[in-house]
């Protein structure tokens, strides 16, 4: 993604100016409403667009903001929406996609019920009217709403154009890679959810100020659907997505006035069409049409020279066991890795090699034993904390679209750990690339990195490794110098597939 181009900035600034100069009060009101929906949508883009988490409570948070403005004044509204957002996010930090959607949907339904039935507070089905929201409805509201919106869009575009956007992409598309690079998914979700909620609350408060009444509809599911579809229509991550989607949502009913309620139907059909055929949304289509296009995400390359390793010195596994249901994936595994050495891990498919890397990384919890990094226990730490302590790792298969083995490795190196876990880095490489990999591995050792490498290329491992460890059905059956391990009868039978002459 790129920062906001000049074209969009001009569009964004022109809208309120033209509205103030040229439009009648009715038109100004529409432009204000566009700004309000766009603010809610911008907040929604943070969670749904950047994190890819289906949050179904944004409409309800908008409603909370509206009620808060009616009851306690406009400045309270963002806070009033941010607090339940924070609570909900804290409760649902660990939830996977469908449970996160359910939890936010339950929260939204709860808010809607309270709005409808807590009559002493919310006025029940009649809602509230005749309150002082602390804002006039005229041009000044338009100016305030659009000033905040423009600042928000510019800030959003700047923030997500850089590393932050790249991290969000990793979180969204390859959460495991993100965790092993030290990105704390829970904290991201908390921060973005609260920020997005606060924006929704603010938008809700402005809408209360604009209309002068608040009714339970502002907390309802149709508003949530509108918010979701405006963001999808406009472009889920594009800085201008929410603004374009909101413009359509406000103007379409006016254009299709003869068709009565049909505009919502048309809107839903358009949303479905965009999901199916133009997932980048209208803003992306505009960019493509203008020839601006979004640049391809950068593919990290390997550094020209390796810095000297700095970080933890020794990793030790002590009698580690891990069970998946009835399968003993690891049994009593003890091994160590020091800085300045390359240890190769071999074994047949399913012997527990990747599981071993996963438990070191904290991706899978162990059942028994201990994992120590310079004497500090890692067993109960989350993956991102372990990565930050200095253990980097690569994965077998490319986990991002268009990613390559070397990008995978470059990312792990850029993390700056001193101990590297490499999962089948040689698989699928041509001979020349294999030679380069061997050179790189030796350079890593010279620069005092410690490398634990899983691979099936026994020749490569024998050539570069100081020690080999062979796993068979979760147990270590041999460990020692490459020559010793390769000569071991068990290893020859189980891994190398050479039956010993009886």
């Amino acid at each position: 993604m790129q920062a906001l181009g000049r074209f969009w900035l001009v569009v964004l600034l022109l809208a309120p100016v033209v509205a103030l100069v040229a439009l009648p009060p009715f038109g100004q009101r529409m432009v204000t409403l566009i700004g309000i929906y766009a603010l809610m949508g911008l907040g929604y883009q943070l969670v749904f667009g950047q994190l890819g988490a289906l949050n179904l409570a944004q409409g309800a948070l908008f409603g909370i903001g509206a009620y808060a403005a009616a009851l306690a004044g406009l400045p309270v509204a963002p806070l009033a929406a941010a607090i339940p957002a924070a609570l909900a996010a804290a409760l649902t930090l660990r939830l996977q996609s469908h449970y996160f959607a359910l939890a936010t949907l339950a929260l939204a339904s709860l808010v809607n019920l309270v709005a409808l039935h807590a009559e002493s507070l919310t006025g029940g089905a009649n809602g509230l009217a005749g309150f002082a929201a602390g804002m006039s409805r005229g041009p000044s509201l338009l100016v305030v709403v659009w000033a905040i919106l423009i600042a928000g869009v510019v800030l959003y575009a700047r923030l997500f154009a850089g590393t932050l956007g790249e991290r969000a992409r990793l979180l969204r598309e390859a959460p495991l890679v993100a965790a092993t690079l030290g990105i704390d998914a829970g904290r991201w979700r908390l921060v973005l959810f609260v920020l997005g909620g606060a924006l929704a609350g603010l938008a809700g408060a402005f809408s209360a100020a604009l209309s002068g009444v608040v009714s339970p509809e502002v907390t309802g599911f149709p508003l949530m659907v509108l918010c979701l579809s405006l963001v999808v229509l406009g472009g889920t991550r594009h800085p201008m997505g929410a603004v374009l989607g909101a413009t359509l949502a406000v103007c379409l009913p006016e254009l299709l006035r003869e068709l009565q309620g049909a505009w919502l139907l048309g809107y839903a059909v358009a949303t479905l069409a965009v999901v199916l055929w133009a997932p980048e949304g209208l803003a992306g289509l505009c960019d493509r049409w203008r020839g601006a296009g979004s640049p391809k995400p950068p593919v990290p390359g390997l550094p020209a020279s390796l810095p000297r390793a700095a970080g933890p010195r020794r990793l030790a596994l002590q009698q580690v066991s891990k069970r998946f249901g009835g399968v003993e994936a690891l049994q009593d595994v003890s091994l160590s890795l020091e800085r300045g050495e390359i240890v190769g891990l071999i074994g047949a498919n399913g012997s527990g090699k990747t599981t071993l890397l996963n438990v070191i990384n904290g991706l899978d919890p162990i059942d028994q034993g201990a994992i120590l990094l310079d004497g500090r226990h890692l067993e109960r730490l989350p993956a991102h904390a372990i990565a930050r302590m200095g253990i980097a790792r690569t994965f077998q298969a490319a986990m991002l679209a268009g990613d390559s083995k070397s990008a995978n490795l470059a990312r792990a190196l850029a993390r700056g750990g001193s101990l590297l876990l490499l999962d089948e880095p040689a698989a699928g490489l041509a001979d020349e690339e294999r030679r380069q990999l061997a050179v790189l591995l030796r350079q890593l050792r010279t620069q005092d990195y410690g490398v634990l490498i899983v691979d099936h290329d026994i020749e490569l491992l024998s050539a570069v490794c100081d020690r080999l460890v062979c796993l068979d059905r979760g147990r270590i059956i041999a460990a020692g110098s490459p020559a010793e391990v390769r000569a071991d009868a068990h290893v020859r039978a189980s891994f190398l597939g050479l039956a010993e002459a009886a």
Binding site: F48, G52, L54, A88, L91, T92, R94, L95, Q96, S97, H98, Y99, A101, L102, A103, L105, A106, L107, S109, L110, L113, V114, L116, H117, E173, L176, F221, P222, V225, L228, S229, V232, Q260, G261, A262, L264, L265, Y267, A268, V269, T271, L272, V275, L276, P279, F324, T354, N358, L363, F395
Partner: protein, 276 residues
Amino acid sequence: MAYALVALGFVLALNAAGAVNFAHGDLVVLGGAVAVLVGTWTGLPGILLLPLVALALGVAGVIAARVALLPLVARPVEATFVATIALAAIIEQSLNLATGGAPSTAPPLIGSGTLEVSGLVLGRQPLAIVVVGSVLVAAVWLLLERTQTGRRMRAVSADRHMARAVGIPVGRYVTLSLALAGALAGIAGLLLGHQFLVVPTQGAGHMLKAYIAVALGGWGSVPGALLGALGIGAFETFVSAGLGDAWASAALYLGVLLLLAVRPQGLFGEPAGRRA
């Protein structure tokens, strides 16, 4: 028991598509609306409407699969979520336009009024719901567990790629599952449509209850979804007797939030582990 039918259809669609079908609740409402329409048009009693509604909604399920689920299998599940939410809005708005948003009542299955069985006074409609529901649940169970078609449907939901690798036409079975889910939704709509009213905006509520039932019962587990649905029904009946409908629902949602906070994997855990 009608909740059980809603949840059963929901979980079938969920397993087949690998993603939540947010339009399922609106298929239920659509079933109710079709029952109302065809009922007033032909004057047929509920019991004869049943196969008609099931057929119509089966077709609707096929359309849902073709339009919103199958084209998106290669994309993140969120794309399916959004597509089905849009589909739900399309159904809801179409019904709104067609009926003017006014509530209506579907014809009863076997006449209204009560029936006395050995001293117990039972409503005819609730009784009919329980009977039809039980028969359908048993039929679906037989289909899934005892026939080759059912085995293939389960194979598709367990591992789409593996199923394709052994030569199962995955798309066709996803469509079939959705047709079945649609038919069940339609029947549930017909049954609920007499006892409660058919209102176009009810869809989200039905969907949410089915969603909760599935989350409580263990994601993707068919018996779990049924148990979850019956549990929700019982919970609502007892709590609403004490607190009133609205607060019973509120208590349910609050309970779900707390439960998810304590046990993120659902009440009975999720069988499929996270894949690296």
